[in-house]
């Protein structure tokens, strides 16, 4: 029973000391003086507001990416006990005492520090020598731009960490594949690949590029397995299913779960509410939910309603009318009907109320029991305050002359009869007899006489229309567009027959309680769609750059400047590393092309296994660079130097690959080899020298004198801030 005591308890641990040393050095380089400067640095001003909103549990939409990265930053704030009370309004603002700067910046810094050992491991897993791996890790360690980006509350270092983790775990998995399929560690690394991929995508959509690269690599490897006759069909199927599960299903599930947590955390209404549909807004605490709580669900004849345009662009607005009429003649000489204006108004107003009326009956109240309006029914819409009917006719609209004018009908007793019948078409109906529902139904109003559709044109009217938005009848209804859809937002059953009473009723707030809850999937789809389609105005930025500038690092970004001294922080790469990385990529490309052409002619310059190694390393490192860089040429958004950092990380990994290949296969004699090693050492000290030279700009201290700063301006295009004396 106590047999185990007979044997000595031995724990043997193999510790790769260089790996540990690298980790420690990485931590030191990223964590040193993390709280300095105690001021808002560059995009912290942007991410910080989201952290604050997380702390306050207020809903927001950020079109720059999915929420996982923001959540991680917020986690730092949560652990540091941040209460969210800070006004993130300008770069350089001093942090107040309640902001836990250290813990807010800790996670990105940790992620940045761990990239160093990850680089080592990746090269080791690619079967490169210890020296090459060490070189890769040191290059990452001494890369000024990566250090700068890691030390603040920014997302790139987290993204790079997950990208490298995904690559590493796939390589581990692939290397295990040959000996121990379906073992524990095999599963572990496979699953970790998927998890890291989805985390990378969850931080920024840029992670998608690396995810695709890994999927393609996995697909290629599996294709080779198909050709391998040693696998039976069943085992191939198992392999396929395992990969599909780990690399597709689990990442998708995780991605969904990010949104689930995001939506679960943020339950209060906030500044971005109006981007979302009424239904979504009603699901948030406060805001619209407070108003719409307990409204009757089914719109009936006699209902008093406000109609919100579903599109919400250029801004959310409600169908509106007021006593002013269209001018008899517009400025360009065209005439109008001179009837009462109908517009779309971006604010809540008593003039936004409309009453649904049955054309066959006179009464404007809901009968008992209420008669619900169904899809296909024909209704009149009566403006609550002025009791005029919504009308359209063959008169050109004020700003969109190809569409019909929409007005509230005034009978001038001339040959223009009222045309005020509208057919209600519920677009998201389940059956053709669906009832028109508050908030949920998206409705199209089709004019019975002219089959024009009520539409928000998006143009805003001139002075006479108080700059409200134009509403038109679109005659050529070209398919489905959200600007033609309206949904009922506020709703109550009208009770007062007399106009005076009704006015009082319209002014009173709605009451009654029915809460509506959207399912998670509906919320997710809407939020995801909004994130993808929300377009910020194309903003010019002083430090924006084009993708071509990045390779040569012709651009920099000033992150922070000390209010009095010359101390400043810049996003600037290590010039030596960037230049060598470019050279390495070019050399890799030329050599590969040379080998490839020669191999095609059956001339084998290097042994087969070296060739395989060369291709695999190039596929991962060069491919990683290409997929993370080239797509930016197709993008139309504002680009910054930091977008290039994931690509440059991969490009840096290519340097030791090429160097080792040169020393192994092209330096044939011993003398040449030792000369080459000496060169490498010299080159490396150059890299270190450049790192040291620029570290004042990386860490923001010590402060430099203007002359020193001027000496650092190695390129004319760099914008280093020099105070005037």
């Amino acid at each position: 029973m106590l047999g185990f005591l007979k044997e000595p308890v031995v724990v043997t641990a193999k510790i790769n000391v260089s790996l540990v040393a690298l980790t420690v050095m990485g931590l030191m380089s990223r964590l040193w003086g993390l709280c300095y400067p105690r001021a808002v640095v560059f995009d912290e001003v942007y991410y910080g507001q989201f952290v604050s909103l997380y702390m306050k549990r207020i809903f927001f939409v950020d079109d720059s990416g999915p929420p996982f990265g923001h959540m991680l930053l917020a986690l730092g704030g949560y652990l540091g006990g941040f209460d969210g009370n800070f006004l993130w309004n300008r770069i350089g603002a001093e942090y107040s005492i309640n902001v836990p700067v250290w813990s807010l910046r800790l996670l990105p810094a940790l992620a940045g520090a761990l990239c160093v050992p990850l680089a080592y491991q990746i090269l080791a897993e690619l079967h490169f020598s210890h020296c090459a791996a060490l070189g890769a890790a040191l290059l990452i360690l001494l890369e000024n731009s990566l250090i700068t980006q890691s030390r603040f509350m920014l997302l790139e270092s987290i993204l790079i960490f997950f990208i490298l983790l995904a690559v590493l775990s796939y390589l581990k998995f692939y290397n295990l594949q040959k000996h121990s399929s379906f073992s524990g560690s095999w599963w572990f690394w496979l699953l970790l690949t998927g998890v890291a991929c989805s985390c990378a995508v969850g931080v920024k959509y840029m992670g998608l590029f690396t995810y695709m690269l890994l999927l393609a690599t996995a697909g290629l490897h599996f294709w080779h397995m198909i050709g391998d006759q040693n696998f039976s069909n069943v085992s191939l199927l198992c392999h396929f299913l395992a990969r599909a599960l780990a690399l597709i299903i689990i990442p998708m599930g995780l991605y969904l779960s990010f949104f689930y947590v995001h939506l679960a955390l943020l339950y209060r209404s906030g500044p971005h509410d109006q981007i979302m549909t009424s239904a979504f807004q009603a699901s948030l605490e406060g805001g619209l939910a407070r108003i719409t709580q307990g409204q009757p669900l089914e719109v009936a004849y006699g209902s008093q309603i406000t109609l919100r345009n579903v599109l919400g662009k250029p801004m959310q607005c409600w169908l509106h009318s007021h006593t002013n009429t269209y001018p008899i003649r517009y400025e360009n000489g065209r005439g109008s009907s001179h009837q009462q204006q109908v517009t779309c108004y971006p604010f809540k107003d008593v003039n936004n109320w409309w009453i649904v009326k049955d054309p066959g009956m006179q009464q404007l109240v809901v009968s008992n029991p209420p008669r619900p309006v169904r899809h296909g029914h024909i209704v009149q819409l009566v403006h609550g305050i002025t009791t005029r009917y919504l009308n359209t006719h063959d008169v050109a609209a004020p700003l969109s002359p190809h569409s019909q004018e929409v007005s509230c009908y005034i009978d001038y007793n001339i040959s223009m009869p009222a045309q005020n019948l509208w057919r209600v078409e519920i677009v998201n109906r389940e059956s053709d007899t669906d009832v028109w529902k508050t908030i949920l139904s998206e409705v199209r109003f089709v004019h019975v006489n002219t089959s024009a559709v009520l539409k928000l044109s998006g143009a805003s009217l001139p002075e006479w229309g108080y700059r409200q938005l134009e509403v038109v009848g679109e005659k050529l209804s070209k398919g489905y567009h959200q600007s033609m859809l309206w949904n009922v937002e506020e709703h109550r059953y009208g009770k007062s027959q007399e106009q005076k009473e009704r006015e009082v009723e319209l002014h009173s707030p709605t009451q009654m309680d029915i809460s509506k809850n959207l399912s998670f999937m509906a919320k997710f789809t809407e939020l995801q769609w909004k994130i993808l389609t929300l377009k910020n105005e194309d903003t010019e930025h002083k430090y924006s750059s084009s993708a071509l500038d990045w390779i040569t690092m012709d651009t920099n970004i000033a992150y922070w400047l000390h209010p009095t001294s010359g101390a400043q922080i810049h996003l600037l790469g290590n010039v030596a590393t960037w230049a060598s990385a470019n050279a390495a990529a070019l050399l890799y490309l030329c050599l590969s092309l040379w080998y490839l052409l020669r191999r095609r002619r059956r001339i084998y310059d290097i042994p087969e296994d070296a060739w395989q190694l060369w291709m695999a390393a190039g596929g991962i490192c060069g491919g990683g660079w290409a997929v993370n860089y080239l797509p930016f040429f197709l993008m139309e958004k504002t680009l910054f130097l930091y977008h290039y950092l994931p690509a440059v990380t991969f490009q840096i990994l290519l340097i030791p690959v090429v160097l080792q290949h040169l020393s192994d296969h092209l330096c044939r004699s011993v003398l040449l080899k030792s000369m080459f090693s000496a060169l490498v050492v010299a080159w490396f000290s150059w890299v270190y020298f450049v790192y040291c030279t620029f570290s004042p700009l990386t860490y923001g201290q010590p402060a430099l004198a203007p002359a020193e700063l001027r000496a650092l301006r190695w390129k004319d295009t760099w914008n280093i801030l020099i105070r005037k004396q």
Binding site: W223, I226, G227, Q229, N233, L311, K313, P314, K455, L456, S457, G458, L476, K478, G479, Y480, H481, S483, E540, H541, K542, S544, L597, R600, R601, R602, L634, E636
Partner: protein
């Protein structure tokens, strides 16, 4: 170009010696399978027959019997001799191959039908339809030789103009808007030309598929699909660029495929012919629309693949390989480039009169056009202090720097004199260049001439109001992040905020500044911002002129670049602007820049319903060519839904088949020679076509510009060819399972017939879409289209 007459029948006498695989169709006389094999092995040119290590006729049944490499079980199938005699091995053709005369006959039939369907009711409707208003008008411009601007390269419109000219159209019809009646003007020539090219698509597709799949039914199916597709008919019947584009595109594909088939006889006359024809077609496709780039890509990829193959062929010496490479570079790069340049040369030679397109081009270019106010003008060449100048912004349709006696209104920056950009010529556009520090009267004729140099600091004085161009750190009226630009000072005396550094793009210090040709940047000395025009229109107080700002973002955009257009300085000698005549290369480059800018300027507005690429393959929504109301003659561009949905299903089917075949081959499944041939057709020929489809479809997802339904039609051609190939292979494969060959033949023939009948019937239903609908809309029961509005999004 390509004759409509049917080309020579496919298997010419010389072809017998070819190394090409003999299509299985020709084995019609083989009495039975073993006999066939024996015969073929004896044949002297037996490269194409079953490989010797093939698992012998055990695989008579084309069922995909899985067998490990080398593990195939031998043994002839036990077949009663009586049965053997009439039987044609199940894998053998289930249908007798057509006699040699069938192919030309089929081609003639296809061509005839194609021409008949395209030329039927060509005159109708006798008014301008849809984009005829653009391309007809541009054809007229060529006839009238007036300069215009369009976002597409000129070849298509030149051909339209040529067709109109030859058919007696005099270029006088204004083509103002869709619906205008042609009256006595001769428009049929232009329509007929487009219809002619559109009709050629069908035989081209037929020949391409025949060449790729070696199967007459596949080619016929493709041809029927294209003949009876209402969309293709409609698009070919009007004065549009698309039939011309598709003609060249299909021409390129056909000649590429033909050239590939000649690969066994490189450098023969026919090889050279098809290779250079490919190059010519590429130039044509690129010259009609930039979309032609996709077919250039297709041919390029095919060529690279081809060369890679040749490189791997060790029996070919490197010198030979070099010859191959050179031939392709010559025919596929230099020849098209030369032709492409030539068509621009013709374009600029023909259009030598001033017209509506002048404003899009630079001042130097405009000076070349007869009737333009810059034509035959002489001005001093180099800018000097004291010169009176106008400055034109370099953004497209950018205005002249302008100022007038009006102040910015209250609340818009400082209340100083407005500075705007104005599109028309006006006295208020004149500015005097002065030295920044001295205010000597430079108009004194005795003072020496001093030239303005790159890097000088100058002051610009407005001639009419004597105020200086001025900027300061107030926000601009519309672009809030920029600085306001004003006119400041009295009689030329201002402050240091009136100083601007003048710099020429790409020059060194001290160089002179040329009128018209120097691109100039004006940097504000005090704030470091750059003078630019934002392109936004000012409200009423600014007379709806264009906003001018000083931008602190130092970007090289045409918005912040200017050139000097008018230049008055009595002390300098005038030179004729002809000296400044841009070289042809410059004109070519400039016109491309303008076209690309114009193309990317076609952005959809917010709240505008636009066609999305995913709409297209499902035939979601068409385009109204003519007519809206019930009384109008209505033509609606919409693909025949049966055909389009068949195409759509086929793409999915093809992917399935390809994956299955590729995996089976990779797993080393042994196939019979028939199945091998079939899989070759599916993978190789189908792959080529699918690549074409992808190249002509996917890029649209990434385009920011406004897209239309008709952009899909080039891709649709590829999709139809794929349908022909896939269904033929599928039917053959299915028929191969059935044992008596008669049944197999019946199934194969029946399936083919069913498809053709389906296409014919659907065409019968939907033909009014192309040939015109009059009367009530489809929702009305008495309409000819009643009940055919299968999707709500169709508008007929």
């Amino acid at each position: 170009m390509a004759p409509p007459s049917p080309p020579a029948p496919l298997p010419p006498a010389g072809r017998a010696r070819s190394r090409r695989r003999v299509p299985w169709r020709r084995r019609r006389s083989s009495p039975s399978r073993p006999a066939l094999r024996a015969r073929r092995l004896r044949a002297p040119h037996g490269r194409d027959c079953i490989p010797r290590r093939a698992p012998r006729p055990a695989a008579l049944r084309p069922s995909m019997r899985r067998a490990r490499r080398g593990a195939a079980r031998g043994g002839y199938p036990r077949m009663p001799p009586r049965q053997r005699e009439p039987r044609r091995g199940p894998g053998a053709p289930p249908r007798p191959a057509p006699p040699a005369a069938t192919r030309p006959a089929a081609l003639a039939l296809v061509t005839l039908l194609s021409f008949a369907s395209r030329f039927h009711r060509l005159r109708e409707p006798p008014h301008v339809c849809w984009d005829e208003t653009h391309f007809g008008k541009m054809g007229s411009y060529y006839i009238n030789r007036t300069f215009f601007f369009d976002v597409h390269p000129p070849l298509g419109k030149m051909l339209i103009g040529l067709a109109g000219y030859l058919s007696g159209y005099d270029g006088t019809f204004p083509f103002q808007k869709p619906g205008d009646r042609y009256e006595q003007h001769n428009y049929v020539g232009m329509r007929g030309f487009c219809a002619f090219l559109g009709s050629c698509l069908v035989p081209f597709a037929y020949l391409t598929v025949l060449e790729l799949s070696k199967s007459l039914p596949a080619a016929l199916l493709t041809a029927f699909i294209l003949i009876f597709d209402t969309g293709c008919i409609t698009l070919s019947q009007y004065i549009l660029l698309d039939p011309i584009l598709m003609f060249f595109l299909m021409g390129a594909v056909l000649s590429m495929v033909k050239c590939n088939s000649c690969a066994d006889r490189p450098f023969s006359a026919s090889w050279w012919f098809w290779l250079s024809l490919t190059g010519v077609s590429l130039a044509g496709a690129m010259g009609v629309k930039f979309v032609g780039l996709f077919v250039v890509l297709l041919v390029g990829l095919n060529t690279i693949y081809d060369l890679w193959d040749l490189l791997g062929n060790l029996s070919l010496s490197l010198v030979m390989f070099g010859k191959h490479l050179l031939a392709r570079v010559l025919c596929l790069i230099f020849l098209p480039l030369a032709l492409y340049t030539a068509m621009f040369a013709v374009h600029f030679a023909v259009l030598n009169r001033s017209g509506p397109g002048d404003g899009f081009f630079s001042s130097a270019f405009q000076s070349q056009l007869i009737g333009n106010n810059l034509h035959n003008v002489s001005v001093p060449e180099h800018l000097a202090y004291g010169s009176v100048v106008t400055m034109k912004n370099l953004r497209m349709a950018g205005g002249y720097l302008h100022s007038h006696w009006h102040l910015y209104p209250e609340g818009v920056g400082a209340r100083q004199q407005q500075v705007t950009a104005y599109l028309h010529k006006d006295l208020n556009n004149l500015w005097i260049i002065k030295k920044h520090e001295s205010d000597t009267d430079l108009s004194d004729p005795s003072s020496p001439v001093e030239f303005v140099r790159h890097g000088d600091i100058i002051r610009l004085e407005h001639k009419e109001t004597s105020r200086n161009l001025h900027s300061h750190q107030h926000e601009a009226p519309l672009t809030r992040k920029h600085f306001q630009v004003t006119g400041y000072g009295i009689n030329g005396t201002g402050d240091s905020n009136d100083f601007w550094r003048i710099e020429v793009v790409g020059r060194r210090t001290g160089q002179l500044i040329k009128v018209l040709r120097s691109q100039v940047r004006l940097t504000h000395v005090a704030t470091g911002c750059v003078l630019g025009s934002s392109g936004k229109t000012l409200p009423k107080w600014g007379w709806e002129q264009v906003e001018v700002t000083c931008t602190p973002y130092l970007k090289e955009t045409p918005n912040s670049l200017w050139n000097f257009e008018d230049h008055i300085n009595p002390k300098l000698p005038n030179i004729s602007l002809d000296v400044l005549k841009p070289s042809f290369a410059e004109i070519l480059l400039e016109s491309h820049m303008v076209m690309i800018r114009g193309n990317s300027g076609l952005k959809p507005k917010d709240n505008e319903v636009t066609s999305k690429p995913w709409h297209w393959p499902i035939n979601y929504q068409g385009l109204r060519f003519s007519g809206v109301n019930e009384t109008d003659y209505r033509v609606y561009l919409l693909g025949n839904p049966v055909i389009w949905w068949l195409n759509l299903v086929t793409i999915g089917l093809y992917l399935l088949i390809t994956v299955a075949t590729a995996v089976a081959l990779k797993r080393g499944v042994q196939l019979t020679s028939e199945l091998k041939e079939l899989s070759r057709v599916v993978l190789h020929a189908g792959g080529q076509i699918t690549l074409g489809w992808l190249l002509h479809y996917l890029p649209f997802f990434m385009m920011g510009r406004v897209l239309y339904f008709h952009h899909y039609f080039p891709a649709m051609l590829f999709s139809s060819m794929l349908t022909g190939i896939t269904w033929d292979a599928l039917l053959k494969f299915c028929a191969g399972f059935l044992s008596p060959s008669t049944t197999a033949r019946k199934v194969y023939g029946g399936g083919f017939l069913a498809l053709v009948l389906l296409i014919l019937y659907s065409f019968y239903l939907f033909h009014p879409l192309s040939y015109g609908m009059v009367g009530p809309m489809a929702s009305h029961p008495s309409s000819p289209m009643a009940g055919l509005r299968w999707m709500d999004s169709w508008e007929f």
